[in-house]
Amino acid sequence: MTILSDINLTVYEGQAISIVGPSGSGKTSLLAILAGLDTPSTGQVWLSDQEITSLGEDARAQIRGEKVGFIFQSFHLLPRLSAVDNVMLPLEIKGDKQAREKALKALTRVGLNKRASHLPNQLSGGEKQRVAIARAFVTRPAILFADEPTGNLDKASSQSVGELLFSINQELDTTLILVTHNTALSERCEFVHQLDEGRIQ
């Protein structure tokens, strides 16, 4: 079964693009392939001047660790880790000795420095997504992938999370690839790509 076909997409450094489309159109599959979480059956993906589809799982993981940040619709915070521990996770994997300081700084940036020791189930949906944003930016990634970042949030939280996402993106000059149903959010990107039945329209 073919999920994606004839995809030819170039995203330049510092650009913010969004991919929109109906459910089942292949948005998440495209995002996974672009981020090196999955490999296409044919074709190539180049990320920061490096072809990643021919690389092994570990090499792709290493590139993700160095260059990629992620934000998910369901937040995906580790339930037994506090907010600061969740933010520290990608730094610890890299072996960063100043992981805690950097994580606390990132939490301060998203306005949650007072909630650093709280567990995920003690946070609201908006707060969880802020922690997830802090976790995504804490390694200063070159590219940020966001999969429906406001999909599980109410209107007010969606708005504030969107504001935060774009303002940090601008601050750090990160490339942003956003998959969303949220029109307001997608319209803030420089380019909007419509995906339908696995093809970019």
């Binding site: 998440t28 590139i63 993700r64 037994r80 880790l81 996770l89 990608p90 610890e92 390694t139």
Partner: protein
């Protein structure tokens, strides 16, 4: 690699707060505790056996003979710088104030004992500090029983043979106490230099000559290697031989504890398998997420290995600590049976503990590591966080094979392990069928009752597999305890059943033929029973099939001391196992009948020729029958019974057994003061001691099986937690649609109490069958189920599962709906 290890170790304390890892940890701690508790005890007992064995001999090695051994070996030993001592022991009459008592006289050199200590008291009961040595010339030390019977005080003397001795101390304890026929009479220790002056050893006297040697192990080995030309009558005894005998006894008794720890480990392993599965499911998400953030497969694997290594180490340390406590409890419970002043344990059980925890981790968690290592990060985006169910069979098979392999190594007994596993499987299968039937019954009642009850019973049938697992695992451990409780009381009751009012409780021996009428006339009217005497001939089995060319077992030297008797009629408590009883022909044939157990060990069969030496004569007799003896009858029983023709005219003493009620005990005192040469053995204390041993040992085993029950509780909690998330969401949903907390509580209570009653019932039914089998087939008792134990088990099962179940899922009842519905 190192980074991953350190990350895993750093995360361990946080991860341990997860129920899956914590339950896995507890399961392993429990298994380690069970095995170390038993091995620590076994280890301490084994170490004490080595010490006890030396005490039994009073040396590291002894030469024992019924003829003088000569100075040759003593001078060899002295040349090799070994310590030496000598004892010469025999039975003789001791006299005081016109009374005489048959006593065991032990004459010693001043170096005695080389191992173990003497314990001497003065006449005020105060300890005399003299751990080794022999009395001064003209002095003796006598045991309390002799002092009491002679009514001796300070400064009194006794006469042995031609010499008078001052009794200078009370002999409270000494090593090498048990030495065949000498053991029954009160002991008197004298100086070996006074032996000649006594003048009691005549040609033909029964005397035991012993030479004692001690030294370093290699010195002893060298010495023993030089003892090649020992005469046939000189026997060599080393502590290893004694240790082996004691060790075999220990191994047999330790088997029951091993059995309990084996069952505990198996049930704990089930809990570990369930927890490991939850651990793996949770880590699919964690590992996939870590990979999204750049973790390599090596990092993920080493982080997991780091956690598991740390957990193995911690579980071993905690388990060893708990095992030590268990071992102290067992030693305390067995006080009186075993010496509570045991030497400290060695480090060997710690290796067993490490082996147990490592194997359980490897068997239960390792098969998941590969799945976790290669888990795809894309699964996070797809919310596909399930385990690969196709490999479940492989994973469980690996766990079971690893468990069987490890247990076989640990218990060094593949047949025991496989028998227990197959037995548990079969019992588990039976419980499974019963459990399935009960679950079916629950669905029948679902429509007859209110909503709270209905939801609870529906949960049982909805989670059919989980419910049956609870019934089987918990039922199994509860059943083991119930069987033990039932069998324990049966065993103790069996003593009461076997011992009727008329069961003899006193043995009198060393009765001479001239005393028979007098003793019968004295005892009969006082105790209201006819007195039956049995002849007792001291002899020695010399050879089997001497000078015969028949068969393969011709001409074997045996040299075995034996108490022999003769009967015309076969006693009630004996039955013929092979051959024929001689009946009236006993007056005309030279025959012997042998106990079938001894016959088997000496390879004696019907038709074999045996040569005995008794009263200085060699007697050649033919084995005409083998007997099965009911030793528990407490009647005088003999391994060798001669035909009347052979033995009627031989020198012999007599033995009798009588029942004297405890309130009539003064008859014994009167009797012994009238017949001081008669030796008495009071069986009441022996019976009470056996009863105490049975009681304590079975209680200790029962305590060990409590660990198996605890493992059952762990399994219960592990399975409940495995479905905890689902329960949480169901409860939250019920809250949301308006169900009161009391209704949700009622449904949970119904579910777990019903499972508890089910487990109690299945355990009870299983216990009735197994206890019935053990009682009727093994202990040969009448079996009637103990209603108290069965009802107790049922109530205990219901309360235990009910409370544990409610506690495990209480969060679902009391958490506010909003919180429980919120994503983690």
């Amino acid at each position: 690699m190192m980074q991953g290890l350190l990350y895993g170790i750093r995360r361990f304390p946080v991860d341990l707060r997860n129920s899956d890892l914590f339950l896995l940890f507890l399961s392993i701690v429990l298994a380690v505790s069970a095995i170390t508790g038993v091995t620590f005890l076994g280890d301490r007992l084994r170490l004490s056996i080595k010490q006890q064995a030396a005490v039994v001999l009073a040396a590291d090695v002894t030469l024992r003979s019924t003829a003088p051994i000569g100075p040759k070996y003593l001078s060899i030993a002295k040349g090799q710088e070994l310590n030496t001592a000598e004892t010469i022991s025999f039975l003789s009459m001791t006299l005081h104030g016109g009374n005489s008592i048959l006593s065991s006289i032990k004459t010693t050199t001043p170096e005695y004992p080389l191992r173990g200590k003497l314990k001497l008291l003065d006449f005020n009961g105060q300890n005399i500090d003299k751990p080794t040595g022999s009395p001064m010339n003209g002095n003796v030390w006598a045991e309390q029983s002799l002092i009491d019977r002679f009514n001796i005080g300070k400064g009194d003397s006794i006469t042995i043979g031609n010499k008078r001795f001052l009794v200078s101390a009370v002999l409270a304890d000494f090593p090498d106490r048990n030495d065949g026929f000498l053991a029954f009479a009160p002991t008197v220790i004298a100086n070996i230099e006074d032996l000649d002056a006594m003048g009691v050893i005549q040609p033909g006297s029964r005397v035991v000559y012993r030479q004692l040697y001690s030294g370093r192990e290699n010195q002893i080995d060298n010495f023993v290697n030089e003892l090649q030309d020992l005469p046939a009558e000189v026997r060599i005894q080393r502590i290893e031989n004694i240790g082996q005998q004691l060790g075999r006894t220990l191994d047999r008794s330790n088997r029951f504890f091993s059995l309990a720890s084996l069952v505990t480990i198996i049930i704990a392993a089930i809990a570990a398998m369930i927890s490991a599965r939850r651990f793996a499911i949770r880590h699919i998400f964690n590992c996939s997420l870590m990979k999204i953030f750049g973790a390599t497969q090596g990092f993920v694997l080493s982080a997991l290995i780091g956690q598991l290594l740390l957990m193995t180490l911690l579980a071993t340390i905690v388990g060893v600590g708990v095992g030590l406590i268990i071992q102290y409890i067992l030693v305390d419970l067995l006080k009186g049976i075993i010496d509570s002043d045991l030497p400290g344990p060695s480090l060997q059980p710690i290796w067993f503990a490490l082996l147990t925890s490592s194997c359980l981790i490897i068997g239960t968690v390792a098969p998941y590591l590969q799945q976790l290592r290669v888990s795809q990060p894309i699964r996070v985006l797809r919310n596909d966080l399930k385990l690969d169910y196709k490999s479940s069979f492989f994973i469980n098979a690996v766990a079971i094979i690893a468990l069987v392999f490890f247990l076989s190594i640990l218990f060094a007994d593949f047949s025991l392990v496989s028998t227990i596993i197959i037995g548990l499987f079969l019992v588990g299968l039976s419980l499974f069928c019963l459990g399935a039937l009960m679950v079916k019954c629950c669905s029948f009642f679902e429509n007859q009752i209110g909503i709270g009850w209905k939801l609870g019973l529906k949960n049982i049938s909805k989670r059919r597999g989980e419910s049956i697992l609870h019934l089987v695992v918990f039922g199994l451990s509860l059943m083991a305890l119930m069987v033990l409780t039932e069998t324990r009381s049966d065993l103790i009751n069996s003593w009461k059943q076997n011992l009727s009012e008329e069961t003899p409780n006193h043995f009198f021996f060393n009765i001479q033929s001239s005393e028979l009428d007098g003793i019968a006339d004295f005892l009969s009217p006082r105790i209201g029973q006819a007195i039956k005497f049995t002849p007792l001939i001291r002899g020695r089995l010399l050879e089997v099939n001497s000078g015969s060319n028949q068969g393969t077992n011709s001409g074997r030297m045996i040299e075995r001391e034996a108490n022999i008797t003769w009967y015309a009629q076969l006693p009630d408590n004996n039955s013929i196992a092979a051959g024929e009883w001689w009946g009236n022909e006993g007056e005309s044939i030279q025959a012997v009948s042998v106990d079938e157990g001894v016959a088997e060990s000496l390879n004696i069969g019907v038709g074999d020729q045996l040569t005995f030496n008794a009263a200085g004569m060699d007697l050649e007799v033919t084995v005409t029958s083998l007997r099965r003896i009911k030793w528990e009858s407490f009647q005088p029983n003999f391994i060798f019974v001669l035909s009347p023709m052979v033995a009627r005219e031989l020198p012999q003493s007599f033995i009798t057994s009588v029942n004297i009620p405890e309130e009539n005990e003064q008859v014994v005192d009167e009797f012994l003061s009238r017949y001081p040469t008669v030796t008495s053995i009071n069986l009441n204390s022996a019976l009470n001691q056996i009863k105490t041993i049975l009681n304590k040992a079975s209680l200790a085993v029962q305590y060990m099986f409590l660990l198996a029950l605890l493992a059952g509780v762990l399994t219960l909690v592990a399975t409940i937690f495995a479905s905890a998330d689902q329960r949480r969401y169901e409860s939250a949903l019920l809250h949301t649609i308006g169900a009161k907390r009391s209704k949700i509580f009622q449904s949970i209570a119904t579910e777990f109490f019903a499972i508890g009653i089910g487990a109690g019932l299945t355990a009870g039914i299983g216990a009735v069958f197994i206890s019935g089998f053990l009682s009727t087939q093994i202990f040969e008792l009448n079996y009637s189920p103990n209603i108290l134990v069965l009802t107790g088990g049922l109530i205990f099962g219901a309360i235990c599962i009910g409370c544990v179940g409610i506690l495990a899922v209480r969060e679902a009842v009391y958490a506010p709906p909003l919180l429980t519905l919120r994503d983690p």
